[in-house]
């Protein structure tokens, strides 16, 4: 059974059809990319999936259960974590606190535990803090910056911190919205390697939106191409590379096959 099954997903804003009847399924343990020109509906797709937008039509099944109608926090608790296209950290909180916040759904402490600092509370906080520290190192945030405010981290580390915060919830599915945006080639390569490790070592399925074709072609087992809110192609990187409708979407009708190689490869 597929981890994520989406059928005929539609989202309209007034007269605008941001997503028009997309069907899509994702097997457990895969790394899949969604690509498409700007305004193709990729981020809207993520927002609909995570419950920020209610789908106008269609069904979303995650782990066999429907997600339609659930609030974003309920969907997160089911095991879907995400990062954002423009980094959305809790700026005035420390690095460790940001990661701890990601563990919110697993925290069992009650009001009484908290007020009286009962042993269960102390143990949970201590374990959470250790886990947060390990995650910080795992995603490659260097140095002794656990107590620094998130806003004071350099850009690349902020991107990594967002990934650590998403991983803190022990998700089954990780949604990454343009994780390599604004990174230099070396950083991009490092972060690509990180994604592969996350899948291999943690067994987390990854769905990512990305414009950087080096990342997409390098790690995706499958690629889904969107344009004008519709899925226009799906397949392995090799198949997508030679798909004419994809080339048209990116380069316009009439673009000859010869040109697309340097653009996409």
């Amino acid at each position: 059974m597929a981890l994520l099954e989406i059928e005929n997903l539609t989202k309209t804003f007034g007269g605008l059809r941001a997503i028009g009847g997309v069907s899509f399924s994702l097997e457990k343990g895969m790394i899949v990319s969604i690509i498409g020109p700007n305004g193709a509906g990729k981020t809207t797709f993520f927002n609909t999936l995570t419950g920020i937008y209610k789908p106008t039509e269609g069904s979303i099944k995650f782990n066999g259960k429907s997600l339609v109608g659930l609030r974003p926090d309920q969907i997160a608790a089911r095991g879907i974590s995400r990062t954002f296209q423009n980094i959305r950290l809790f700026q005035e909180m420390t690095v460790i606190e940001n990661i701890l916040t990601g563990m919110h759904v697993h925290m069992k402490q009650s009001g009484i535990d908290t007020l009286f600092r009962l042993p269960t509370f102390k143990k949970e906080e201590k374990e959470a803090e250790q886990k947060a520290l390990r995650l910080m190192k795992y995603v490659g945030i260097k140095g002794d910056v656990g107590n620094d405010l998130a806003k004071n981290l350099p850009y690349g580390a902020q991107r990594r911190l967002e990934i650590a915060r998403a991983l803190a919830a022990d998700p089954l599915l990780l949604l990454l919205d343009e994780p390599a945006a604004g990174m230099n080639p070396q950083e991009t390569e490092e972060i690509t390697r990180l994604f592969r490790r996350i899948r291999e070592e943690m067994g987390i399925t990854i769905l990512l939106i990305e414009h950087d074709m080096r990342v997409v072609m390098n790690i995706s087992e499958n690629i889904c191409v969107m344009d004008y809110g519709e899925k226009i192609a799906e397949g392995t990187p090799a198949e997508i590379r030679s798909n004419t409708s994809v080339i048209e979407a990116y380069l316009g009708r009439g673009a000859v096959a010869g040109q697309h190689e340097e653009k996409i490869a």
């Binding site: 974590s81 959305r88 405010l149």
Partner: protein, 446 residues
């Protein structure tokens, strides 16, 4: 050549035994000044500012706590009963500090701009006002027509139970209000809470018919106080009589007792606030303040989190309301105006949104400005007006000064100025909030 910097100089002084000496000298000077100059505002300011040197100078925690306890529980009460006006000032400071700490949870931690906070204060006050007075038996009478020999519903000592009940009732009011309201964000929330604050005040004004719950604009009086046994007064007189210099009566003892109760409430609030702030719940509050969308994507339930902040903040106002009703023995809708909400908000913003010491400093500063500095300045201008002094160069007689120019009337102007200036020059407040430093070390798992 290195240029002189205030911070360097402060750091140089602020080490070794010197800070202990400075703080000690400051407290002693303040105490002696107030003791021998009981009518001087300046002396009182010197005494109050010793809390600042206690906070900023680098002394051990044990010293800080001991000094603070001696100051608040010994020096201030004695000086307070010597000049009962000071007792009123420190009581009001504690009441507003407690309110500001409560609002700080809502505004400072969870980032929900609540402009009707005083409504919860009113709920607590009217709760005890109704049950702790004759109002229950006044229900069938229109205001002013009740017979004068009605009994009291409950004994005065139920006051302590009602402090607890005030917490619960105000928290429930917070949740009831929050359920429909907290779905709106930011500016909209501010407007809705502003409306709610007014609704409560108008209700208090008009719930005198068909059944007379609140006695309308005339307010409820007398409200009972808990009992104050004579031996307590005698005991106080025997021990502190010589220092105070005059006989302390039951009324003074009440003022003192309510001041101490307010202090105890503040201690509970600070304790609860600190504990909650450093937990999953506190992190959820701050996360919601920082970025709602990101917070909800981490599985933080938005409405529940905001409601908890709202309820905790409201409960603190509730308990202070009960305390206010008993200490004043009289309450009316006047005491719960929009200006009060704005006043408490100014304290939070002046001191530092989200910062416990900051908010207490804000409450003290604004209360002292209101009660002492503005009043004192008014008094001084009045004296000038009555004298035949003139301003030399421009030849302006002080007696021609308009009576409209009375600083005590410019309280609102002051709140406004404080809010504007702080927002422009120091939005983080006088003592900005700090995140807790964690001792971070990865333990070996194998």
């Amino acid at each position: 050549m290195s240029s002189f910097s205030f911070k360097d100089a402060f750091d140089k002084v602020n080490q070794g035994p010197l800070p202990y000496l400075i703080v000690f000298a400051h407290i002693v000077t303040g105490t002696l000044l107030v003791y021998f100059q009981p009518r001087s505002n300046l002396a009182f300011l010197v005494l109050m500012s010793s809390f600042l040197s206690l906070y900023f100078f680098n002394t051990s925690n044990r010293f800080k706590i001991t000094a603070a306890v001696v100051m608040t529980l010994l020096i201030m009460p004695i000086l307070g009963v010597r000049n009962i006006f000071y007792l009123e000032v420190i009581f009001q400071i504690s009441v507003f500090a407690a309110l500001a700490l409560g609002l700080n949870i809502v505004v400072g931690f969870a980032g929900l701009l609540d402009l009707g906070y005083v409504a919860f204060y009113a709920v607590g006050a009217y709760l005890w006002a109704f049950f702790g007075s004759q109002q229950f038996f006044v229900l069938p009478y229109a205001p002013g027509t009740q017979p004068s020999d009605l009994p009291f519903l409950l004994a005065g000592d139920f006051f302590y139970l009602f402090m607890m009940l005030g917490v619960i009732v105000a928290a429930m009011t917070g949740i009831l209000l929050g359920l429909p309201v907290l779905r709106v964000r930011g500016d909209y929330l501010a407007i809705v809470t502003l409306g709610f604050g007014e609704v409560i005040r108008v209700l208090a004004n008009n719930l005198d018919k068909p059944l007379n719950f609140t006695n309308g604009p005339q307010g409820i009086t007398p409200i009972q106080r808990p009992s104050m046994p004579d031996w307590v007064v005698d005991w106080f007189n025997t021990i502190f009589g010589p220092l105070v210099g005059h006989e302390v009566n039951t009324s003074h003892m009440y003022n003192l007792w309510f001041y101490i109760l307010a202090l105890m409430v503040i201690m509970v609030i600070v304790f609860v606030t600190k504990r909650l702030d450093d937990s999953a719940m506190g992190r959820a509050w701050t996360a919601v303040r920082e970025d709602e969308t990101a917070a909800i994507a981490q599985g933080i339930p938005l409405v529940k989190t905001k409601l908890s902040a709202f309820a905790v903040g409201a409960s603190f106002a509730g308990i202070m309301g009960v305390l206010l009703a008993a200490s004043r023995t009289f309450i009316s809708p006047e005491s719960f105006s929009f200006m009060q909400s704005i006043g408490v908000l100014s304290m939070v913003i002046l001191g530092g949104s989200g910062s416990i010491p900051g908010v207490i400093l804000g409450a003290a500063t604004i209360t002292i400005l209101n009660l002492q500095v503005l009043q004192g300045f008014s008094l001084y201008l009045n004296e000038l007006r009555q004298s035949d002094a003139i301003i030399p160069i421009i030849n302006f007689a002080w007696s021609d000064l308009s009576t409209q120019l009375d600083p005590a009337k410019y309280q609102r102007l002051l709140f406004g100025l404080i809010l504007i200036l702080m927002m422009i020059f120091r939005p983080q407040g006088l003592i900005p909030a700090k995140r807790r430093e964690r001792k971070l070390a990865l333990e070996k798992t194998e």
